[in-house]
């Protein structure tokens, strides 16, 4: 494998150094220079070593607030007064096959009150009293679309660019591209409540080496990371003593095999494991946060405590150098058609479903934006918010909405996105994106760009083909960047 950031695998160089032979020829040295290895070299044997980006990055980290199950665009951020005017009348051109089931073809008005906010005058529905305070920091994209009208493939598309399983998710690509900033924590963290429909493959590292895989955890549990706890019958000192004896044996073993470089890496991995036993629980320890912060994130409310924990841990993670945190919103109540693995799936009643889900996510989302801003972290952290597709403008049953891959809203804040921007548009009913249509590839290209990566150059050779996160597509959404 040729690493696009490292330029060349370094084992030869390291081999030459270790063997005391120096560089064999000028050609090799210049090649290494050309590939940027010599200049970059932090610890080139380590695929998770931090690596320089292609160009200056606007953002250091990304928090993706994934609204699993797909919120309705026309009941959240994409205001469509025409729907109210024509409530119950035929929606011309509605295709009953748009959704997962079939839809009525009759317009369904939003059950919520709408208002404009901030200097930008962005519309939001009443279910987001907190998020609406931040609209001037938010860039809205009203014209998203996805390929599938089925949850799992659509989530796969938003994570990996492909509707099929088996391709690396964006967090893995990012880690592959940039390495990790914190030696003691994973670079790519996924937090979920009930796992979203489709499970672990949604955040797969696909064909990328497994070092780039997500560390996934359910912060509702007592032990969010596997094997982090020392066996109960072993004291810290006893374990340290075991490691010391182990190291001594491993050093001896490695001394006789100076060219099998993995040996030392494995020795060091035990040391890191030992340190992680302390550092990782610290990152999860929300008791270290003052009460008013915990309350701000809604940890004191039953509806919002799980998602609030997710958001607060996310902030602590990126503070500690984690690059990519993806949250699949944990909603305890999912009436109106939603299920715990797809909470926003309001097939039967948008009103009760969206009110319940919003009462979970609104406060913590707003708190996260406030908190990042007050700590000066919003400038270099991208917060992205959205689901895997949208919902139909015509009703399913009397009061529900079915899946609609043709139009939905995703928003961005911080990390070089233009606050108050409003980009793209759906038609007057919010049924189809019509202006500046945006797909997952475009979003991925833009996020990578903000992280300093040219999406066309981040490639990986697998089974004879150079793959990209953005396949052969991807347009950077320059109009919503500062």
């Amino acid at each position: 494998m040729q690493h696009p950031m490292i330029g060349s695998p370094s084992s030869r160089r390291e081999f030459l150094q270790r063997a005391g032979l120096g560089f064999g020829s000028l050609a090799v040295t210049s090649m290494l220079h050309q590939e940027g290895v010599v200049a970059a070299a932090s610890s080139p044997t380590n695929p998770l070593a931090e690596r320089p980006s292609h160009f200056d990055a606007k953002a250091k980290s990304v928090i993706w607030l994934f609204q699993t199950g797909s919120p309705s665009q026309v009941d959240t951020f994409d205001y469509k007064p025409e729907l109210a005017k024509r409530d119950g009348t035929n929606l011309a051109g509605a295709d009953p096959k748009t959704g997962f089931f079939t839809t009525s073809g009759k317009c369904l008005k939003s059950p919520f009150k709408w208002a404009q906010h901030g200097e930008s005058g962005a519309w939001t529905s009443e279910i987001f009293p907190n998020i609406s305070k931040h609209v001037d920091d938010i860039a809205f994209v009203y014209s998203c679309y996805s390929q599938s009208n089925n949850h799992t493939p659509a989530m796969l598309e938003f994570n990996s660019g492909m509707i099929r399983q088996g391709f690396p998710s964006m967090g893995s690509w990012l880690t592959y591209g940039l390495g990790s900033e914190n030696a003691n924590l994973p670079a790519y963290v996924v937090m979920h409540g009930t796992k979203p429909r489709g499970g672990d493959p949604i955040w797969s590292s696909g064909f990328l080496p497994s070092v780039y895989q997500a560390t996934s955890l359910d912060p509702r549990g007592a032990k969010p990371i596997d094997n982090l706890e020392r066996p109960a019958e072993l004291t810290g000192e006893q374990q340290r003593s075991l490691l010391d004896a182990l190291n001594a044996a491993n050093v001896k073993h490695a001394e006789r095999r100076p060219f099998d470089r993995d040996l030392n890496a494995r020795l060091e991995s035990f040391e890191l494991a030992y340190r992680m036993q302390t550092s990782a629980p610290e990152a999860f320890d929300l008791a270290q946060e003052p009460q008013h912060i915990q309350d701000m994130y809604g940890l004191n409310r039953a509806e919002s405590k799980d998602y609030g924990r997710q958001c607060l841990i996310a902030r602590r993670m990126i503070e500690r150098g984690v690059r990519f945190v993806q949250i699949f919103a944990a909603c305890p109540n999912t009436p109106g058609g939603g299920v715990s693995d797809v909470p926003w799936d309001g097939h039967s009643d948008i009103n009760v479903n969206h009110r319940a889900c919003a009462s979970t996510v609104d406060q913590p989302t707003g708190a996260l934006l406030t908190d990042l801003k007050q700590r000066g972290m919003l400038d270099n952290t991208v917060v992205i918010y959205g689901g895997e597709f949208g919902r139909t403008s015509d009703s399913q049953g009397a009061a529900g909405r079915d899946h609609n891959p043709n139009a939905f809203t995703t928003w961005f804040a911080g990390g070089g996105f233009k606050g108050g921007a409003q980009y793209g548009a759906s038609d007057e009913f919010g049924y189809k994106s019509v202006e500046n249509r945006v797909n997952a590839h475009d979003i991925h290209a833009t996020l990578l760009h903000q992280m300093g990566i040219d999406h066309t150059k981040l490639t990986y050779r697998f089974n004879g083909r150079d793959f990209r996160l953005t396949d052969v597509e991807g347009e950077i959404l320059r109009k919503i960047l500062t």
Binding site: P9, P47, P153, V211, D226, P231, T235, L242, F270, G464
Partner: protein, 1005 residues
Amino acid sequence: MSLQYMPIRRSSLLLTCLVATTLPLAATLGAAEPDRKGLDFFEAKIRPMLVKHCYECHSAGAAAKKKLKGALLLDSRDGSRNGGESGEAVVPGKPEESLLISALKHESFKMPPKGKLPDEIIAHFAKWIEMGAPDPRDGVSVVASPGIDVELGRKHWAFQPLAQPSPPEVADQAWIKTPIDQFVRSRQEAVAVSPNARADARKLIRRAYFDLIGLPPEPEDVDKFLSDSKEDLAGAYTRLIDVLLASEHYGERWARHWLDIARFAESNGYAFDGDRPNAWHYRDFVIRALNSDMPYDQFVRLQIAGDLLTNTNVQTVSEAQDAVHNIAATGLLVAGPYTTQQTQKERERSRYEQLDDIVSTLGTSLLGLTVGCSRCHSHKFDPLPQVDYYRLASCFADVGFSDTGINMQPEAFRAAKAEFDTAHTSLVAARSTCEKEQLPARFEDWIATESSTPAPTSAPPTLAAWHHVGPFAAADFNKAFDEVFPPELDSELTKSFEDGKLKWIQQPEWKDGEAHNDKLKGTNCANYLFREIESVNSQVMSLSLGSDDGIKLWVNGREVLSKKVGRNVAAAGQETVTIQLAKGRNELMMKIANGGGATGFYFAASVTQAPADITTIRAMPVDKQNDDQKKKLVEWHKGFDLEWLRLNQIVARHQTQAPKPELTNVFSARVRGTTYQFGEDTYKVYHLRRGNADNKEDEAAPGFLQVLMRTDQQEKQWLADPAAADKSRPGRLGLADWLTDVDHGGGHLLARVIVNRLWHHHFGRGIVATPSDFGTRGEKPSHPELLDWLASELVRGGWNLKPIHKLIMTSAVYMQAGEVTVSGGEHDPENLLLWRRGSRRLEAETIRDSLFAVSGTLDRAMFGKGTLDQNSTRRSVYFTVKRGQLIPILQLFDAPDTMQGIATREESTVAPQALAILNSPVIRNLATKFAARVRPSADTSIEQAIDQAYQMALSRSSTDKERAAMTEFIQRQKDSRGSEANAESLAIRDFCHLILCMNEFVYID
């Protein structure tokens, strides 16, 4: 920045190029082509745009459809440069003179007509032309596949026939053990690199054990080998290899390698990840095939077409076992992911995804070709036109999956069936006798005495109270409904069941005409209700019935209703049925089968008329009744004759005891088996424009890769039916033959790919370093003659793999030590010339298996259904592979995700692995077991225990220094526990745990 997880990956594609600049090996190791960069630019920026925006009107394909515009062909280099009616489209180096640019800018022409391309893309075209318009698209292809010249493509090394090289002469005869060594040593000699001497015997036995069977040798095995090898190492070593190749664990170890390539899993993947409970047969097929050294060509043929090559109507046990084996082989075709939640409009697209999974997997696994790349466009680098992709896919057009049942005891079944038939015949005869000798008289009597229309009100029947027994538990609803529980065979109410736990109980409160949804209990079970009905004469009743869930009803032992249905509640009128009552005592039995949730029933009866057709016939004068009508009446009358009913019940009850074949269900490919259904095109394959199922062209016909056919007849050579010239054989049969045809088909490449895989697993790198890509973008072979020699040996030896293993493992190259020689380090630091054999880390399964083996807890039971229980002590290959629930410890050590086949596992070294080894209770527990094994009692001294541990885990004695250090460690751990009672045994456990953590335990020299 400091190290993060310290992971290391062994992979070094670029290094081959680096070395090429310093060694005189460039010709074979692959020198960079001069304008690679330009071609890359073309491939990345230009070709996709041409295909997307221009080919529709300016390509051979467009010409074929009479859609060519302006006589301009932009799908070949010559076409672009010569231009069309208006002149040269591309003038290399001169964008300003190239019509293509002015047309894109909408200056000369307005192209593409649908709308101007973004400036950025036009700038790419200009830059490309400035670069000299590098363009690999030579000539015109054979089958309307722009840019591909199959004849030229055949010149690529991998598509050439097998050379029959003789092993070259070498100066260093002393080192040579096998012809392999001659090939390797000769290359070393050319650049003055000297190889290593043979590794010592302890290292050799460990290396051989892990490579061939994936388990550590026991200390006795090591001792025996050491003493044997003192006299004759070569002989002892050869015998060792023979023993290991004959070990049944060989199949388990090497099956895992193949299962990686086959993307083997036992569930569907995707949202619901449904289980494939009978998919493990494929894993067993691979293990058995390897253990029996099935010729590789046969191994491949069965995996492509085992179901077509096997008669499933088996006559003997051995035929049955063969059938399971052969059918299971097609697991390769159907192991891929399959999404069960589908919206209507996704189905056809999903079918093409499924076919793509099959075609891509076949390409990479068997031929080392990325055929899948030709799905949307002709292959950009290899001579694989798009049409070839669809020809291959078409071979699988009718393939779906299914659980195929095979009768495992056909002889025993035949015997039991014959015995049953004899008994049954006599029972039927008794009934027939009654029908012939007694019934006619009683029929006449009935006609004469009973009114044709009995008055409903006269003497209504008396329904006795219900008796109930149940619930009878079953595995699931289907079984609950289908299984014949004892009450069905005998309605004697004094009987009890299940050791007296279930008894008939009278239920006088269970009134008719009310729904009883709270009386019956149990899920996945059956409840029986019985009652007697007294009737003074022959009568007809109408029943209104309800059931939650399924219901069966017998009247006087005759089944009158059977409805397998799921319901939420029992209610009136869910079923209605007309029954006949004989004069006297009638018996009514009802079975209510339940799946999940509550269960219940409804019953109401009323006297009614006979059905209209019967009353009509009865109303007719006898001489007016035709034969059919008479027969109908005779049949109807049987329902009133208790004697006939009794004999009939005996026949019916006996019938339920008919022997059933003992079926083994095998998840396998099947013609017109399960797949996405979308109407008449379901089992057809069309050529798709740009791979898009919404864009079908004409239907594809089976065929193979043109570049791998050296015959005038092309695919007909393998597809023509030898029995009837105008017919063709199924595409898969032809494919199986073509793939294994060394002379005219793909067999030579098939052989090269598999010997390279063996080499890859023995050395950690193949002769071709990209084992699943032998195309032009893959690595070139480091030792091409050796590769061809090995492939030829394989074919010459009848495709048996074990002799190739032995050839490789008895070579000096394989047996050498891992030391660094000065010449090697200087001239070939990456060891492409194989002058050393460094240590290698065990794979996930082998690490886990070794931990269990060393701790003395490995269960060596082979075959059969797997498990997801992480505490299983069986070898890791027997874990159930569930895509959504992969075994964490194996994942941690780089086991594949099973979505696509992989040839080379990435090898990571990360902290979570160390955390697992240090902290997981499973491993801590194994350390305890290991400790008990090294020190079974206090009679064993600490020093002896230490040495035992080294022998068992590392196949060597401890040195004095090591023993001293470990004794000290144990003392320290003991002291730290103060006066704890078992301080010493806990300290020994810490020591054993330490041994299991050691690099030496998982890195094999």
